[in-house]
Symmetry: C2
Subunit: 362 residues, 2 copies
Amino acid sequence: MTGQGARSRSAGRPTLEEVAARAGVGRGTVSRVINGSPRVSDSTRAAVEAAVAELGYVPNTAARALAANRTDAIALVVPEPETRFFAEPYFSDMLRGVGSELADTEMQLLLIFAGSDRERQRLAQYLAAHRVEGVLLVSVHADDPLPDLLAALDIPAVISGPRSAEETLASVDSDNYGGARSAVEHLLSRGRRRIAHITGRLDVYGAQRRVDGYRDALEAAGVRELLLEQGDFTEEGGRRAMSALLSRHPDLDAVFAGSDVMAAGARQVLREAGLRIPADVALVGYDDSAIARHMEPPLTSVRQPIESMGRAMIGLLQAEIGGEWGAGGPGGGPTSGSVVAVGAGGHRHEVLRTELVVRESS
Amino acid sequence: MTGQGARSRSAGRPTLEEVAARAGVGRGTVSRVINGSPRVSDSTRAAVEAAVAELGYVPNTAARALAANRTDAIALVVPEPETRFFAEPYFSDMLRGVGSELADTEMQLLLIFAGSDRERQRLAQYLAAHRVEGVLLVSVHADDPLPDLLAALDIPAVISGPRSAEETLASVDSDNYGGARSAVEHLLSRGRRRIAHITGRLDVYGAQRRVDGYRDALEAAGVRELLLEQGDFTEEGGRRAMSALLSRHPDLDAVFAGSDVMAAGARQVLREAGLRIPADVALVGYDDSAIARHMEPPLTSVRQPIESMGRAMIGLLQAEIGGEWGAGGPGGGPTSGSVVAVGAGGHRHEVLRTELVVRESS
DNA sequence: AGGTAGCGTGGGAGCGCTCCCACTGCGATG
DNA sequence: CATCGCAGTGGGAGCGCTCCCACGCTACCT
């Protein structure tokens, strides 16, 4: 890519020292230029930069990490066996956001799997060894020990999907409450009144918030009766919940499912019961996944700004870590349309707006 | 997690030297134990291991990388803007395979995005700096300069989805030819004779191979006429191709689409034309994605063993890099049911079997 | 008996950086 | 005119490891 220039001896890649020799300055000065210190005269800086370009110098990360005692790396911890959030399109979209935000940075992204006990063991070692500056946590269970471990080791972390309203880590979330509420209000505006909700697993905070949104929307509209049935985010769970609802409330006219996958399960049961969508029962999902777009009929669903959430996670982690973060400026403010609160321990919590995507199922 | 033990002075984490002192041996001996050298007596080894456990010693990666001139890291390069392969469920499944295989290893996984020019520039620097032992490449275009760069820098690499039959990098692929052939043979066995194929972008080698499989299956069955139309892996492309096919061959009785997404597009056009699936026209897709399972009717599709492909990539990369790779044994043989060939430059090419998942669309 | 393999071991050198202290030279100050 | 402050710079020390040479010792050879 870049010219190689004359590389005197030492077959390997050029070192700081060689750059210094070439530019006719000392090691310290080259280091200052490389790291953007202001305490260098313009002429010297230019000379060093020329030498860097001529030699194709690239700093040795290991040496830098060793000397400076920092790693310039952050980890994204992937709870592998957990299907729901690792599933599509959640994961790759989030990664996209993380990646794009990281591009302005010197940080490298480490992917760490924490599925098996063995992997979790390794992860704990990683963290104990302070091999990363910070950690990105995705979809952690309420009873996971990892957040506490991070707190104990004093490692900056951001969690996507806070575990509760009192989340002790910095967090990024989508507005589950508002998303649910908008879905239900949409159904109300379509004239539906007997609206059921198939919830996600209620040990997931986001699922609780969706229930809250559902309840408040109905309450605000003066609808008294809540038609609730617990699902578990799976298709089979959606089927079971729908069957239960149908037998208890055969006159329901709308279903708001806590996920598209559960909506798909519900749809099957509705079909088998001879109910038409949306003529007899309107159906709304959550996630706006590929399933929603390709369902028959296409499913109205709540879209979460997942890529933005990935970006926001980096923003918050940046704030948690503090310091320079390479080239980037002050790290950019919160994502537009998001709400930021500061909780216990001074950690920030960012909640991003959702969007209802209306299709033919409602 | 582990007991902290008495950490004499030096607030930081214990070093090799401290372990050596504690065990009453020299630095070199501790290093040998840590790295599993056989040239250590059992008693000494035990003493060192005890000291390691007591102090909670974890080697400093940076120091090790600097001294040994290796990084113990591999990179997964993600061509971000390229939608097709980053999309579902491809990416996360592959990651799962990579992760599970990597769990037996000391290697860490670096995720590098190569979407923007800026990112590619950074990637080139990364590679030039030899910051990774090897590279995993996913879905690279035929004209991408990256593989040549890797070859020039002599960096071990494995590509998923070879660019041609003469791929110069080690590669992992699913059996596109066999998969297509089984799909078409399935349609033939259902009595269909006028079978069309909506291809993917033909600059993608895998898409070409699917065409080959389609052609050979028909030829073997004595069917002369090929009904081919080029798509581009998108839903809109599937629609266009289906329209074209329908106007040219209104009597076709089956469609084999080169991807589920294109099948979804084709399905819309078929529906609009008043054709029933599968009564009038049978439909088969490729990828066995979430779309296939949730389509109406559920779509017969060719499943690729993507997770296994991820695993296989690590296996091949291991072979390319050579050396120890941490704890793992000889790196495991090829995945069961796969075919391994050795091509130019001694690089291995592994092709994994596909599986036809029959559903109601055919 | 002396010679000589090796094994198991200790520790010096050095990987390429950053940090920081010391030094120079200059203009501002008393 | 001596003194100070400070921007700009050079280079020593050291980060925690691996590599490798040298050393003592035991067992076996001649």
